[in-house]
């Protein structure tokens, strides 16, 4: 630790500082596209439904009557304070959408991530270790198919089978109305709230609703994970230290576990960080498929009513999440790999 330990905090600070320019660029791009290009968002959104006077009032309330430069800095301020603005159609602060719907998205994303890890890590390792064997070919085909099939197609097939044909699982929604009525919102994450309430029925109900969406999104990610893990296991199996370990009589199981797999994980962790973008895209589609009350579903609703401000706010929020997560992953990577700290 003599040479590396001291500089880890510094590394973390540098990475964290990188968030600022990245977010700045993304916010600017989204602002330019959605605020400047279409002209006036209020008339585009509610033009047909409100009188001119009412529209002017709405514009003033949203600060849209000021110059674009002022609006831009206004908006930057909104992002810095993590408020992200508010919707035009129902005057709802974006931050409220995060509060009300973020829990559902988080539950879905975390669950899917776990499913993807449970499927992807072992299958990817097996495919890499037993390269060009039947097992490798089958696993790779599985990977290609999970990637080729859109999430909503998996969702539809699951609904056909488990909800329609077998009738085992509810087809859409996060829980039955009775559960939502019974469980008090504490954390805004329904499963945890149900556990806190100690309501066995509610827990079971939420879990039943959770299975299909989580499996759908998890399957999408697992294909990517298999690919990543396989390639990196192949790469690390070529390492000189693998041969050296074998020369010391280390068993194959130990060589795979302690040497090949562990070294393969370092790049995998980095690239998994990049998959957060895919996870969010997938979550939007999964939520739309299962009518899952997450942020993505809200986004789709606002798209349908052409609410520019809402779309801008939610997209910016997603962009910030992607950037922050990718930098957190970098830091995690530095913790795993002693060489990265500089």
């Amino acid at each position: 630790m003599s040479s590396g330990g001291g500089s880890l905090p510094r590394y973390i600070v540098t990475r964290l500082l990188l968030i600022i320019p990245m977010v700045f660029i993304l916010v600017t791009i989204v602002f330019l596209l959605l605020r400047v290009a279409p002209g006036d968002p209020v008339s585009a959104t509610v033009g047909g439904r409100l009188s001119e006077a009412a529209q002017d009032e709405r514009r003033a309330a949203l600060g849209l009557d000021r110059s674009l430069i002022v609006q831009y800095f206004d908006y930057l301020g909104d992002v810095v304070t993590l408020r992200f603005g508010q919707t035009i159609t129902d005057n709802r602060p974006i931050i409220d959408i995060v509060k009300d719907n973020g829990g559902a998205t988080l539950m879905l994303a975390v669950g899917a991530f776990i499913v993807a890890l449970v499927i992807g890590l072992p299958l990817g390792t097996i495919a890499g270790r037993f390269r060009d064997t039947a097992a490798d070919v089958v696993i790779r085909i599985f990977g290609v198919i999970t990637y080729a099939a859109p999430v909503f197609y998996w969702g539809l097939l699951f609904q056909l089978l488990f909800a329609g044909y077998l009738g085992w699982l509810p087809s859409t929604g996060i829980a039955s109305p009775i559960t939502i009525f019974e469980v008090e919102s504490v954390t805004h994450i329904l499963l945890i709230d149900a556990v806190i309430a100690g309501n066995g029925h509610a827990i079971l109900d939420v879990l039943k609703h959770l299975i299909m969406p989580v499996a759908t999104l998890g399957l999408l990610l697992s294909g990517i994970f298999i690919r990543l893990v396989r390639v990196n296991v192949l790469q690390s199996l070529k390492g000189d230290y693998i041969e050296a370990a074998r020369a010391r009589g280390i068993s194959e199981v130990q060589v795979m576990r302690a040497h090949a797999f562990r070294n393969a994980l370092v790049p995998v962790v980095t690239v998994i960080g990049l998959q957060v973008a895919l996870l969010l895209s997938g979550a939007v589609l999964t939520e739309a498929t299962f009518n899952w009350p997450g942020i993505g579903n809200e986004l789709v609703q606002y798209i349908n009513v052409r609410d520019y401000a809402a779309v801008q706010g939610i997209i910016t929020l997603f962009a910030v999440v992607v950037v922050v997560v990718s930098i957190v992953i970098d830091i995690v990577n530095a913790l795993i790999d002693p060489r990265v700290r500089y």
Binding site: S3, A247, I250, N263, D337, P338
Partner: protein, 345 residues
């Protein structure tokens, strides 16, 4: 040093071939030698002569698809007949290996202590961490690595220190035989001298037999009891270092010694022609196309191992056996297609 007790390692007619798109590569093609307890045997030859393959072949650390036959007798057991699982019990506590590039041979994510713990525990279950540390520090002390570095990561060490770590890691299990494959090629000259001194003292410190693969004849003269000269997959001359250096018998050995650069060198010598293609090697004696003394028989019949002194063996028709040669065999060989012309066309 060469006692005449049972040899530790006895190799008989070992072949290691690789199949490639162009045909089988005869990397090692019929090699025999003995290695005694505490003895250091130097293995020299040009790159591509099969030295490294021979070294790895002894531990049977070969790529899938390589084929071998012959015998590797270790403590009376033939390693060639052992299963992969049995071989693992040999690698480490009986057979050790030190590699050329120390920079990449340690797992970058594992502390030095973890490397030692893993190696010891695989072969001696039930040894606790303290005992591993005691044993490891003892070897590290001999290698000149301070105990304070025990929990460091590989990237915190220099190349020379990493090679000493690799040696320590091989020796902590007290193997009776170690292969060192060009252990100093990747290191600078000062560090090289340190490593050679350590290897030289192995016999005293650990009673280990060593096969030292190198292309540096200086190292052999300094650190080896005996030397084997390899050419195109075969050992063409073997004997005590003193004897071979003072009185080289094989034309290849002579050329090799001449081409060594030393302070007294006045001109650069090199061996004409290129190293042979091991897919389609020259007929009979593999050296005859480049040999200044080639005779008719050299292109015709494989040379026999001939004893030319105590423990000194050479495969060359210049040294007989005469009873297998006829009058016409000893005439100088007309070199036609073999050298130059065909290659340059």
């Amino acid at each position: 040093m060469t006692d005449h007790s049972e040899p530790v390692l006895s190799v008989r007619d070992l072949r290691v071939w690789y199949g490639t798109d162009r045909g089988a590569v005869r990397a090692v093609d019929g090699v025999s030698f003995d290695l005694h307890k505490g003895e250091t045997l130097g293995l020299v030859g040009e790159s591509g002569s099969g030295k490294s393959t021979l070294g790895r072949g002894l531990l049977r650390l070969l790529p899938e698809g390589a084929q071998t036959d012959g015998e590797i007798l270790f403590g009376g057991e033939d390693l060639q007949t052992k299963s992969a699982k049995e071989l693992r019990t040999y690698r480490g506590p009986e057979l050790g290996m030190i590699f050329q590039e120390p920079m990449t041979r340690l797992n970058p994510l594992m502390r030095i202590s973890e490397h030692f713990e893993e190696a010891v525990k695989v072969h001696a279950a039930g040894v606790d961490r303290q005992e591993v540390k005691r044993r490891a520090l003892e070897v590290l002390r001999v290698m000149g690595i301070p105990p304070t570095r025990y929990r460091s990561y590989p990237h915190e060490f220099s190349g020379g220190m990493r090679q000493r770590l690799m040696i320590a890691l091989a020796l902590v299990l007290r193997p009776s035989f170690v292969v060192a494959d060009e252990p100093t090629t990747a290191l600078d000259v000062l560090v090289e001298a340190q490593i050679i001194a350590i290897l030289h003292d192995l016999r005293r410190d650990f009673d280990t037999s060593l096969l030292l693969i190198t292309h540096n004849l200086g190292i052999v003269a300094e650190a080896c009891d005996r030397v084997a000269v390899m050419y195109a997959g075969r050992i063409v001359e073997i004997g005590s270092s003193d004897e071979v250096f003072r009185n080289p018998k094989h034309p290849y050995t002579q050329a090799l010694l001449k081409s060594t650069i030393s302070l007294s060198t006045t001109g650069l010598h090199f061996i004409p022609g290129a190293p042979p293609d091991l897919v389609d090697p020259p007929s009979a004696c593999r050296f005859h196309p480049r040999c200044p003394h080639a005779m008719e028989i050299c292109a015709d019949k494989f040379p026999q191992p001939v004893s030319v002194g105590p423990g000194h063996r050479v495969e060359c028709w210049l040294h007989g056996p005469e009873d297998q040669m006829t009058e016409g065999d000893t005439g100088p060989l007309e070199k036609k297609e073999e050298i130059g012309v065909a290659d340059e066309a």
